[in-house]
Structure formats: C-alpha cells, structure tokens
C-alpha cells in the first residue's frame, strides 16, 4: 500500500507478477547472465528496445535479480491510466536529473536504446553514457531477443534476455564526464557489446518459432 517517494507501489508489481510469469512461459523466455548484475550500489542497465510496449521493460525488470526503476519516456506519463500504472510499477520520467539521482542513491535503473532505422535488431545510438560516468556507476549491457518478432499479436516466439559483464565507465568520469570524445568511446563500447550479444542470442535461439 505504501508507495515510496518516487511513487512506486510494490503491491502492484506483486499483483502483475503472475501475468508476467505466464507471458514468460508463453514466450519460452530464457534469461542468462543475471549474476553479472551487481547486487548493491548504483547500476545502469542498458538494453536494446523495440517491439511492442510494455513487454520488454516489464520482462527485463522481472529478469533482474534486484528491484530496478525504468527510465520511461514522457509519453508513458501523458496517457490516462497508463501514467498511473507506469509510476506504480516503478517507472520514472527519463529526465537526466532523475537518472543521476537514482544512480547516486545506489539504485538500479533500466534504460532502453531505441532501435536503429535499418531493420530489426540493429541497436541504435546510446547517448546516456555520461549519466553513469557522472554518477560513477557501472553499466550492465542487456540484449533482448524476441520482442521484434512478437509484433502486434503475441505470437509464441522464443524470447531471450542476456545480461553481459558490467562495463566500467568510471575511467571516463566524473572528471572526464564532460570530455565528449571519451564519452562517445564509452557509449560505443556499450552499444557494441549489446549488438554483439543480440547477434549471438539470435544465433543461439535456433529459430524464432520452432
């Protein structure tokens, strides 16, 4: 019943968990590398977005071994009822100030890279590396496979979520958090690692449906 100061209501997360568990079974979800996520301290989980809202964020949050907040776009908070559900499930507006505060308070935050325009499973540009660098927290790359084929109807495709080894972006900050070249390099490292994991998981999935 009690919400925290960010507006998350743990009872709602518990209430929707059976539905998410059913969705995970329906999509034969396979989760790997959850041990890569540090159990304590601030961490920024970066995953490739895409596919229908809201399954990817909810399933990634459920796959994490610790409670996490979703950095959600402004549109999620502008739609009636969706706004309330998003906030109670632990989403916060993806404002840089929110990300910095969450990471500084030692929380886990999940953010999504929008897909690039050229075809499915092309991870777009990651431009939030400075947040992790400034807060001095590691970045955990995460690949999500299955969301793109799911489409508008929930076809029973195979889903995979894999967390990679934490990437330390601290060498790039906090003193260097304003150094653009260093930040671009850090962001590119994160993006490359997610892209490689996505391709790897597409191969290891051995077919979307059968």
């Amino acid at each position: 019943m009690a919400e925290d100061r960010w507006g998350r209501d743990p009872t709602l997360a518990r209430a929707v968990d059976p539905a998410l568990a059913a969705a995970a079974r329906w999509w034969r979800l396979h989760v790997e590398g959850a041990e890569c996520v540090p159990r304590e301290g601030g961490v920024l989980v970066v995953a490739n977005g895409g596919g229908p809202w809201p399954w990817t964020p909810l399933l990634v949050a459920r796959a994490l071994p610790r409670p996490a907040r979703l950095l959600a776009g402004e549109r999620a908070f502008a739609v009636p009822f969706v706004a309330v559900a998003a906030r109670r499930l632990g989403a916060v507006p993806a404002h840089p100030a929110n990300a910095e505060r969450l990471l500084g308070e030692g929380e886990a935050a999940i953010t999504f890279i929008p897909p690039a325009r050229e075809g499915p499973y092309n991870v777009g540009r990651f431009d939030e590396a400075h947040l992790a660098a400034r807060a001095g927290v590691p970045v955990v790359p995460c690949a999500v496979v299955g969301a793109e084929e799911t489409g508008r109807l929930p076809w029973p495709v195979r889903w995979r979520i894999e967390f990679g080894d934490a990437i330390d972006v601290r060498p790039y900050g906090p003193g260097q958090a304003t150094d653009r070249a260093a930040l671009l390099e850090a962001a590119e490292t994160v993006r490359d690692s997610i892209q490689a994991m996505v391709h790897d998981n597409l191969v290891r999935r051995e077919g979307a449906l059968f």
């Binding site: 309330v84 906030r87 100030a97 505060r101």
Partner: protein, 307 residues
C-alpha cells in the same frame, strides 16, 4: 543588533502570522506591514500597519520612512478571486515587485526575502521527480502564472546583482494546507468530494501552514542567497492523500476538467487557474535539502500536514 522588518501583504495569512511571530522575537525592533487591505486581526504592539498599494510609486515613501533592515515581499497572489481578475493578479505580482524592489534602494537594507511559489517549475509528464533550485532556469514557461513568477524572480535576481551587499532569498513554496488557511487548494481538500482528473494520480508534496510561516521566519533570521524549495519531505500520491482524508474523488476527464470543475467549485467560492489541471495530472516533487540543511527547517510530511 535589533532589526527593523518591512512586510508586504500584511493582511494575508503569511503576513499576519509572520508579523505576530517576529513581534515576539527579541532580535526584531519593529515590524512595518504594508497592504492595500486592512488586516482582519488585531496587531501586536510592535507591528505598524501602513495602507499602500505596491503598484503605485508611493511605496518608495513608505519604505524610506520605515528604513528597514529586512524586507519580506509577501504579496504574491496565486489565484484570481473577488475583485482580482487574472489581469490584476499579474499587475500585483509583477508591477508590485518591480516597484517594491526599486524602493529598496536604501543603505539600511541587508536582506530581501520573497515568498515565491514552486509553481514556477510547472507540471509536465517528463518532469524530474524532484526539482532542485537550479532547474527553474531550464523549465519551459507554459502558463501565465509561471511567466509572472519567472518575471518576478528575474527582477529579484537582477536586484541581487545590482546590490551585492544585500542577501536575497527566494522561498519557493509548494501548495500550503492547514486548518486556518483559506485558499482554493485548502477549500478543495475540505470539500465533500475532490475533483480529480480521470486516469491520473499525481504525486503531491504539500506544506503545512505553520511550517510555511516557520520557513519565512527562518529566512528573516538567517538570510540565505538564492532560491530555496519549501515543502514537506516526501511527495505522496493524491489517491493516498484522499484515502487518508477518507474523501471520495470525483474523476473528471482532463479535456473538460476546468469546464466541469469550475462551476462545481464555484459553489465553494473557488476559482481554479489554468495551472491546476496539469498539476492534478502530473503533480510536482521538489528537493528540500537546502531547506532542511541550510535553512534548518524540518517541515512535517504531506499526510501529517493534512491531519
């Protein structure tokens, strides 16, 4: 050293309460209150009431005669009401501040304390969950009251630049509630049903009336340069507030909110401004570290404020 204090807006809730509080303070020699309406309550001995309109240049004579050390600008009007159209509200807030600050060009003045509002941050879906004081500069100004506040704060900032010896404090108050305060917000919380916006449950961070007076008094005693957010420690969602008050909500779809809610609340003598529907959709949270650590005020929480 005993100091003389000048308070504008003496007749309103904060003016009367702050004057009474400062009259008991041995560090205050005398309090002069200015307002265009006479205060309802009887004033303590060390408080003098001077009738004057902030919008007229006569205010300079009042300030010169008072020779204040601290000027508390407390004449901010948030809601239009009887005899105060939104046009007059704009004039009172903007022109009044301009005239007052022009009159404060005196060697005695050491500090200026302004009661401003956290409404300057606005309420939007993508807003930070906790506004810090530096974010007012980057928030887009969407409503008339927001623009008035920004103009007011701009005048205070340029006054502070031109008078480096004067400490200027801007107190940005979140909505104030309490048993004796009469504002549209407190009346809505006392109404039998609360007109909410359908499908939204904003995070509110309210302030108890006693804490708002304590914050003003603390700013008079220890002036602090710059803006300070004034609110209870943590935001609480509206649904939880209404559960706490055992008050039903009347959900109104957002596009027709003012059309439906204004005739209803007019029965209670309330008119809502254009900031209100978006405030009831997205709410507003502020960071209060400056208030608790630098000003030393520990306000009670939102739910305790509504008890």
């Amino acid at each position: 050293m005993a100091r003389r204090v000048l308070i504008t807006g003496l007749a309103n809730f904060w003016g009367t309460r702050l004057a009474a509080e400062l009259a008991d303070d041995p560090g205050v020699e005398h309090v002069v209150g200015v307002d265009d309406r006479a205060p309802a309550a009887e004033l303590p001995g060390r408080v003098t009431f001077v009738e004057g309109d902030l919008r007229s240049p006569d205010i300079a004579r009042v300030v010169r005669a008072a020779q204040p050390h601290v000027v508390v600008h407390n004449a901010l009007v948030q809601f239009p009401g009887a005899g105060r159209s939104s046009r007059v509200v704009h004039d009172l807030n903007v022109v009044g501040t301009l005239q007052l600050l022009a009159a404060c060009n005196l060697p005695t003045v050491q500090a200026v304390v302004v009661r401003a509002s956290a409404a300057i941050y606005g309420s939007a879906p993508g807003d930070p969950s906790f506004f810090t004081e530096d974010m007012a500069a980057t928030t887009p100004l969407r409503t008339r009251f927001q623009r008035d506040l920004a103009e007011l704060e701009g005048y205070v900032a340029s006054y502070a630049r031109r008078h480096p010896a004067v400490t200027c404090t801007l107190l940005r108050l979140q909505p104030v509630v309490g048993p004796t305060l009469e504002t549209p917000v407190t009346r809505l919380f006392r109404a039998p049903v609360f007109p909410a916006v359908l499908g939204f449950d904003p995070r509110l961070q309210l302030l108890h009336e006693d804490d708002s007076v304590r914050a003003l008094a603390a700013a008079v005693r220890t002036p602090l340069a710059g803006a300070v957010n004034v609110a209870g420690p943590d935001p609480v969602s509206l649904s939880r507030v209404l559960r706490h008050l055992r008050r039903p909500a009347l959900p109104i779809p957002h596009p027709v909110y003012l059309t439906v809610a204004n005739p209803l609340v007019r029965l209670a003598g309330v008119r809502l401004n254009e900031d209100f529907p978006s405030f009831l959709r997205h709410g507003r949270g502020v960071d209060t570290r400056r208030l608790t650590e630098e000003l030393g005020v520990q306000p009670r929480g939102t739910l305790e404020a509504l008890r």
